[in-house]
Symmetry: D4
Subunit: 142 residues, 8 copies
Amino acid sequence: MVDSLDLNILQLLQEDGSLTFTRIARKLRLNESTVRKRVMALREKGVIKKFTVIIEPSKVGFNTVAIIGVDVDPPKLLDVAQKLCDIPETRYVATSTGDHMIMTEIWARDGKELSKTISEKIGKIEGVNKICPAIILEKLKV
Amino acid sequence: MVDSLDLNILQLLQEDGSLTFTRIARKLRLNESTVRKRVMALREKGVIKKFTVIIEPSKVGFNTVAIIGVDVDPPKLLDVAQKLCDIPETRYVATSTGDHMIMTEIWARDGKELSKTISEKIGKIEGVNKICPAIILEKLKV
Amino acid sequence: MVDSLDLNILQLLQEDGSLTFTRIARKLRLNESTVRKRVMALREKGVIKKFTVIIEPSKVGFNTVAIIGVDVDPPKLLDVAQKLCDIPETRYVATSTGDHMIMTEIWARDGKELSKTISEKIGKIEGVNKICPAIILEKLKV
Amino acid sequence: MVDSLDLNILQLLQEDGSLTFTRIARKLRLNESTVRKRVMALREKGVIKKFTVIIEPSKVGFNTVAIIGVDVDPPKLLDVAQKLCDIPETRYVATSTGDHMIMTEIWARDGKELSKTISEKIGKIEGVNKICPAIILEKLKV
Amino acid sequence: MVDSLDLNILQLLQEDGSLTFTRIARKLRLNESTVRKRVMALREKGVIKKFTVIIEPSKVGFNTVAIIGVDVDPPKLLDVAQKLCDIPETRYVATSTGDHMIMTEIWARDGKELSKTISEKIGKIEGVNKICPAIILEKLKV
Amino acid sequence: MVDSLDLNILQLLQEDGSLTFTRIARKLRLNESTVRKRVMALREKGVIKKFTVIIEPSKVGFNTVAIIGVDVDPPKLLDVAQKLCDIPETRYVATSTGDHMIMTEIWARDGKELSKTISEKIGKIEGVNKICPAIILEKLKV
Amino acid sequence: MVDSLDLNILQLLQEDGSLTFTRIARKLRLNESTVRKRVMALREKGVIKKFTVIIEPSKVGFNTVAIIGVDVDPPKLLDVAQKLCDIPETRYVATSTGDHMIMTEIWARDGKELSKTISEKIGKIEGVNKICPAIILEKLKV
Amino acid sequence: MVDSLDLNILQLLQEDGSLTFTRIARKLRLNESTVRKRVMALREKGVIKKFTVIIEPSKVGFNTVAIIGVDVDPPKLLDVAQKLCDIPETRYVATSTGDHMIMTEIWARDGKELSKTISEKIGKIEGVNKICPAIILEKLKV
């Protein structure tokens, strides 16, 4: 598991993943090599899964962002989830206990493109029975 | 809007947000100052909303991750959404057209802590009528 | 009630409401004054409720078209329906036996504007309990 | 896109699609040839999809108007939607993100005829899994 | 409880409640006074709740028959059910474990009259929260 | 259609279907032959579908009364409805626009017998996809 | 935590809670005092919450067993759950992420008694909004 | 059926199934052989289905307890229910009139193991169409 020092580093990186080790060290009054070792350890242990950037979809031409619930043949649950991961249009795939056993997020240029992705990509995966999209109106916190 | 060069840079940063400008420049056969200017412009225009790290919740002690649908008094929709953003336990808040008009993600140590956050934090926001949690069983792609 | 001649005229006008009486007369091998009298009678009897044009919303800047189910306090059903008619943003209002007792169509520039119309216009009508929007992805026949 | 002059013309035509160019010109203090050119341009660009008349169904013998949600095999979504357009009984067909991925409107003489259209026309389209009709009790604004 | 002779009489009367005691006696090879005594006993013990006629609603002007699910404030369940019994428009009232805790059947001349009964009669009963009508398209067996 | 005299007779018969023509005549100040002719005409025209008795199920050993929603393959809607009529256990069959396209009422001795009727009788009809029983807790008005 | 020996003892006791320590000892080839100490430790640590008997409700006069979903005001979730525990009629109370945030099991003599418990006991708890009972038809494994 | 003495014994045993006959006898002022005979009779008649222990799942490593609704092909209802009983991971199996016709309880070590049990064990039973898990957050009364 992680200790409170790790948690402090993680919090800073979640807020700004572009902070240099030097900046983090100064903020937490540590020396830079401690931070470097900690971050490397957190990546190796899989605590940090990846560094990334959060993009505003509408500014890169994606006007229709949808969270899609996917109903599947129960024995194909993990199969379908894996195939959804392989579709480049999916940004997120998870299994869940909600109304649908798989949730995935798709970015599309408009409703027409979303319809097409649903029927020609997601819908063609064997074992998919029903697809229930919900449009994200506005993301207020990410 | 952005051009195809911007999109290439964004794609690299989404995959690995810790890439240095030099590494990005080499991969895209650009010079480092072009990359630096582009990334700064993308941040200023709000295309890049933030640099961050994706954390595996179970490795920092959060064994119960829930996507929570929140039903609200319609005139208080934006108010409630804003107050949810201010609760530190929420990792994500969005308005949506799905079964529930607000979706939020919560990380809790176990079911008991989730029950408590639901009834003592989210439930106490004025205008919240119903709370529908779905537990994330496994995140396969983020 | 209407006779088969009326039905023929109505069908032509539904397909193209800009047809002149002369053109309709020629197509149905009638004389122009018969068509004129019939159309005037159909308007007076309320068979034809109005002549109108069907617009493509995305071409006038409305990128988010939603069919909205509205749940109401039962004794305020007709009141709420009437007040929805008075909001200029609604294009259609009907009472129904579906999942929601009122259905209304809204055109908005984007998701953010739709959220605002929902919470600040529809949501503020007294007697409205819950609002369930469904985004129209593509209208294929109108 | 359209300018504010176009929007003024469109608004007049939505309220009364039988207005002559001369009447529109007078109302907007334009000359008639400007209106004519604008309307023709709006039709060519697909802003105006068609001129039509709105009919009161009960006055032409249709006592049962239903909005029908159609659940489909996901890969057949666009196919089924297209086939629904070809059924003369459908007045409207759209793909949507609501409880059902296709919405269509049907006018029938009575409940028995609606049952028949559902089971013998819509239900026989390959890929249709479930049909959920909601009866329109009263249209208050169209 | 009842014996098999009672059950035979009940079955005949369910199929045709206008059968005379003599006809029933002949069909079951009993004498008429036995049948008379049995039927009177079945009424007294509340096995037969009433003799009635089944009417075809559309032939007496009721074109819109609805089964209505009523959601109520839980402590007012029995109160509301009782008040629904007192409304002359209700033909049937039962408490149930289905999607709604009360089910009632209403006959109306058309959709407009049904809307009015819902909002002005049923909706005004204190404790009624939500009303979900389903239109009966055709009764095939009663 | 029927006139107000017919409606008066129908109302009396709905309340007590065992009234003799003489009794009805006296109550409505008609002569007995008028009543006889009217009732016969009402039966012939199908206004009165049948005379029957309403039975209290628990008093003839049926402790579990269920209203069952049946989901069907859409093209088999009328077929399935017809086959349900032929099962002796069904007391009522109707097509509807509610959550389920067919509603049927079943009387069973207990839950175990109901499970068996559902899986071995109703469930075996070709075209039946899903069966949703709701138990009637108490019938307050019939 | 527990070791594999504890798990073996627990499994035997789940299958038959009336086994004596001597019998368990013999089955697992342990001596009786080890079993006694282990079982006492399991009770003290709260691994074994209680010894009990599983009763067949219909054999003690309870013909209607219901699993009841309870919807509550979110801030009163834990309060309501606690008050449900105090009602003697409840056999089980849990908070859950399903369609309803509280699940409870009630045994009643018949539907009428269940209606009464719902409206007069559960429904009167402050903060309870909606009660959704599902009747258990048959318990096959407990 | 049982008498009030039986009911008293049953109540004591439900509260503490490890009570000896002597202890029960003393509490109810009976002699020990009466209690012994009564308990044996209650077991033989199936009133007591079994003696067992209630375990706290989290204390034996099961952090994810789910109540699972299972939708089945209607003719396979009893078959599927039987096969679910045979899966060792199920702790409870019942047929029900709720949203799902079968309810079963599963204990898993974490979400990943639950996903696997759902797709590889329950999902592979022939006749299972859909699986809807709800996570138990906390059991307050058992």
